[in-house]
């Protein structure tokens, strides 16, 4: 049985800051007892699998590394309507993925949650490596707290 809310961590943990979303979601899952209506998923770089994860869900919260033109380490909360993607896809391979396009497809198929929130975190370093940059590591607890607060707000509404 699917839960009402899903927190999806995206990214690659062997590409330093690119894995921030996965690491935050993993940390948040240690608070799962506080949020029985919420499932926490490390979706890695599974791309189109997101379509299935969000189907039948009331609210999806994504945590992802995002190039937003901000200072490295900045976290911003936004909805898909507040942004446009600047990602250039060659459409040559299944290995390209763009969350915004996947959300578009879910909408077209009428399989999209009513509410979607994205937490984007500006990277300092995206290169091979299993560790976060000092900038993001130093603010890690802040990211977790911010999304925990969002979850507390979301679930207190009686979802």
């Amino acid at each position: 049985m699917k839960k009402a809310v899903i927190v999806i961590g995206l990214g690659n943990t062997i590409m330093s800051d690119e894995g921030i979303g996965v690491r935050v979601a993993q940390q948040l899952s240690s608070f799962s007892a506080e949020f029985p209506q919420v499932s926490f998923v490390d979706a890695g770089t599974g791309g189109m699998s997101i379509l299935h994860l969000i189907s039948g869900i009331d609210k999806a919260i994504f945590v992802d590394c995002a190039k937003m033109g901000q200072q490295p380490g900045t976290i911003r909360k936004f909805t898909p309507q507040e942004i446009k993607t600047t990602k250039v896809l060659a459409h040559q391979s299944l290995h390209e993925a763009d969350l915004i396009k996947i959300i578009d497809l879910a909408k077209q198929l009428d399989q999209c949650p009513a509410e979607i929130t994205i937490f984007g975190i500006e990277p300092q370093t995206v290169e091979p490596g299993c560790e976060l940059s000092e900038t993001l590591a130093g603010r890690f607890d802040e990211y977790v707290t911010m999304i925990r607060q969002e979850l507390a707000k979301t679930t207190s509404g009686g979802l």
């Binding site: 690659n12 391979s93 290995h95 390209e96």
Partner: protein, 436 residues
């Protein structure tokens, strides 16, 4: 004939992955015609050095979000070979079942989301939805079944967590396997519907042939259309198969100026891997439904039209589902048992090989007496296809040079897509601008 033409399809996205198509015609003469891959995803080989044999799978499962089960299985087999670990028959069968789930995931994605828009004349799957809503929904359903199937066997859809050297940390219940079997049986009409839709637009698959060497796994004991066991063969190898440990004799990696990814060659100056390679080397071993699907499209052993790789993937979808239904029967007949897995560090070197959805994949590791990795070597299918793609370009472009520039560009892009190269999977981050 175009007097002058410049086609430059540049895929400039993120740090590590891009493939470019370059065609320059000057005064009616083709001056430059290249598939450029200025990328070599080799960093993970350095990343596993110094790590325990128990950590290798977890790291390499992140190499790719589409082939994470495949990388995990190849690495686990290599580690087991290095440490001299044998797995039980039950583990072997459950891993094969896990592997099939990823083949179905990837093939349905490729056929439905990447190739079908080409056949329908759409730039991507999103605008295809209003044009072929039912077809897209059927594809999504089939893909979802494959994802749930991976979830059951691998512990999650991507980046598996149930695989460890020597066995599995968790196995499904018999009831879950029975349910999976029913789901797969129920999925057959959807697969037939997908095949029907693809067949209806199959006339748009370019007719192009190039005599090609095809390399894949081949299993003789027992004879099986294999994705997992066996040795390495090609249509140039007179039916013989090399042991996996000899994979360097097959890949013969070399450096070319136009690409920082290494290219490969065996008997000729290039070879191709993937569904069409497997089909060409093993077609007679397909399941009955797989053979029916091949007949439906007129796909015959010896086909050397690279665009037909997509059809070969579709054929394999039928084979995978039918074979998995039978495999679940075998597992249930014997009954599932919880098995204890024990492994200990040991010095050694081992190779592991499985078929990724897009072709044969090799992993090799060396460990010291403490089980720490001292060397790693991985050869991905996409690198093995680069030379073949270049050779296809060189034969195709002169044949279509009188067509419009748009038509030439589209056919080259479709050719690249038919191979489904893994050129940018290790980062998926958002690139956004705020509009509100």
């Amino acid at each position: 004939m175009h007097k002058n033409m410049n086609i430059n399809v540049h895929h400039v996205t993120r740090v590590e992955g891009h493939g470019n198509i370059v065609v320059n015609v000057n005064n009616g003469k083709i001056e430059k015609l290249q598939w450029q891959v200025p990328e070599a995803p080799r960093f993970f080989e350095a990343m596993v050095r110094g790590r325990s044999y128990q950590d290798i799978q977890t790291i390499v499962s992140r190499i790719c979000g589409i082939c994470s089960i495949t990388h995990s299985l190849a690495s686990t087999k290599a580690v087991e070979s290095a440490l001299g670990l044998k797995v039980s028959e039950q583990t072997d069968k459950l891993r094969i079942l896990m592997h099939y789930s990823e083949q179905l995931q990837s093939h349905t994605l490729h056929v439905g989301y990447l190739a079908a828009p080409d056949f329908f004349g759409e730039p991507s799957v999103v605008p295809l939805v209003p044009k072929a809503t039912d077809a897209v929904k059927t594809i999504v359903r089939a893909h979802r079944i494959a994802n749930d199937w991976s979830d059951l066997l691998a512990g999650r859809t991507t980046h598996p967590v149930t695989l460890i050297p020597g066995g599995l940390t968790r196995i499904p219940t018999e009831q879950q396997l029975r349910q999976l079997q029913k789901t797969l049986k129920d999925a057959v009409p959807d697969l037939k519907a997908i095949a029907g839709v693809v067949l209806s637009v199959a006339g748009n698959i370019p007719k192009f042939e190039r005599d090609t060497e095809y390399v894949s796994l081949k299993q003789t004991k027992p004879p099986t259309y294999t994705f997992y066991h066996g040795g390495i063969t090609s249509n140039d190898n007179k039916g013989a198969a090399l042991p996996i440990e000899k994979w360097h004799d097959v890949t013969n990696e070399y450096v070319v100026e136009q690409s920082t990814a290494k290219w490969t060659k065996w008997h000729r100056d290039s070879y191709a891997v993937g569904a069409l390679a497997r089909f060409n080397n093993n077609a007679e071993l397909l399941s009955p439904m797989g053979k029916d699907a091949a007949n439906m499209f007129g796909l015959k052993k010896g086909c050397c039209n690279p665009y037909m790789n997509t059809v070969a993937q579709l054929v394999e979808c039928f084979h995978i589902v039918e074979t998995s239904i039978a495999l679940i029967d075998e597992l249930l007949t014997k009954g599932l048992k919880q098995e204890k897995v024990i492994s200990s560090p040991k010095a050694g070197k081992g190779s592991g090989c499985v078929e990724a959805p897009r072709g044969i994949l090799f992993h090799e590791y060396e460990f010291d007496k403490n089980g720490l990795c001292t060397a790693a070597d991985i050869c991905i299918p996409t690198n093995q296809n680069h030379a073949s793609m270049q050779k296809d370009f060189e034969k195709l472009v002169p044949e279509i040079i009188n067509e419009s520039e748009d038509s030439i560009r589209l056919k080259l892009e479709m050719l690249v897509r038919s191979y489904d190269p893994c050129i940018s999977c290790s980062t998926h981050m958002l690139n956004v601008e705020f509009v509100k």
